[in-house]
């Protein structure tokens, strides 16, 4: 019997809890007022400051990255140019030394030949 009473009691409670109730008159007005306050209220000083700072930081980081990238590109281009010029200079030098060697050896051989004769 006790079990049956408790079950009926629970059902009554549930029924009571789940019954649709009309919201009080002040509730709608309060929600609308809160929503209006949130959309129209200006951002606080710190909030605005932080937003500005973030933007400035982002700009600074982007600018630094751009400067760094262009600096690296310039350095790479310079290294490539220097390498090309250096290799050309080396080839020129080797050619000049080769011509000098060939001519001096030829003169040496001529002298040897004359000495033998």
């Amino acid at each position: 019997m006790d079990d049956l009473e408790r079950q009926l009691d629970l059902e009554c409670h549930l029924k009571d809890a789940l019954t649709r109730k009309q919201a009080p008159d002040w509730f709608e007005a309060k929600v609308l007022a809160a929503a209006a306050r949130e959309t129209s209220a200006p951002a606080g000083f710190w909030q605005r400051l932080m937003a500005g700072a973030r933007l400035r930081w982002a700009s600074a980081v982007l600018a630094s990255a751009a400067v760094l990238a262009s600096g690296l590109a310039w350095q790479h281009e310079r290294a490539v140019r220097e390498r090309t010029e250096g290799e050309a200079a080396k080839a020129q030098l080797q050619l000049a030394l080769k011509v000098t060697r060939v001519k001096l050896r030829k003169i040496g051989q001529k002298l040897d030949q004359m000495e033998r004769n």
Partner: protein, 180 residues
């Protein structure tokens, strides 16, 4: 005024060892079948030196040689027919290669082949400061001019010792031969 005079006298050998290549040489390139034209000042030599390897024996030797050089100039022309260059250009060049700065250490002349080769060294009294080579064959003309400190071992590396036992700056052991 006296200081300026001394300065001029002191600088004279340095300036004198720099040859002026005859302007007519550049025109020879049009007549030549093959041309070598190398003009390297000190900055270009230093740049070339950076790209010479220490591991390769030939490059290492060249690097050692280049360390003391101020300029390397080579003009070489090969012609199809004999007598296409002007002897007056060579006369102008030889006129600059005079003592006391320049000494002709080797002169080879072959009337049979028409070959004419000369080697000149510039010195400051203690060391070799320049080398000039003129090879004037009937169908080939080569002028080499090297400015800067050249050690005897570098000279040997460049082209042997010309078959002469020893270089002696000052002219007492010059080799000056003629082949008839």
């Amino acid at each position: 005024m006296r200081i300026a005079c001394w300065l001029l006298i002191a600088l004279l050998p340095a300036v004198a060892q720099e040859l002026k290549l005859p302007p007519g040489l550049d025109k020879l390139a049009d007549k030549a079948t093959e041309t070598v034209d190398v003009t390297m000042d000190q900055s270009l030599l230093q740049l070339a030196s950076k790209f010479l390897s220490d591991k390769d024996p030939d490059e290492a030797r060249a690097k050692k040689l280049v360390a003391g050089l101020k300029g390397v100039y080579v003009r070489s022309f090969q012609f199809e027919h004999p007598g296409e260059y002007d002897q007056s250009d060579l006369t102008m060049l030889r006129a600059q290669l005079k003592p006391p700065v320049w000494q002709r250490i080797v002169g080879v002349r072959s009337k049979k082949d028409g070959e004419n080769a000369e080697v000149f060294l510039a010195s400051d009294g203690n060391s070799v400061t320049g080398l000039a080579v003129i090879c004037a064959d009937p169908k080939e003309l080569t002028i080499v001019h090297i400015i800067g400190q050249i050690k005897p071992e570098d000279l040997r590396d460049l082209g042997g010792n010309f078959g002469i036992p020893k270089f002696e700056i000052g002219g007492s052991h010059k080799s000056d031969s003629k082949e008839e």
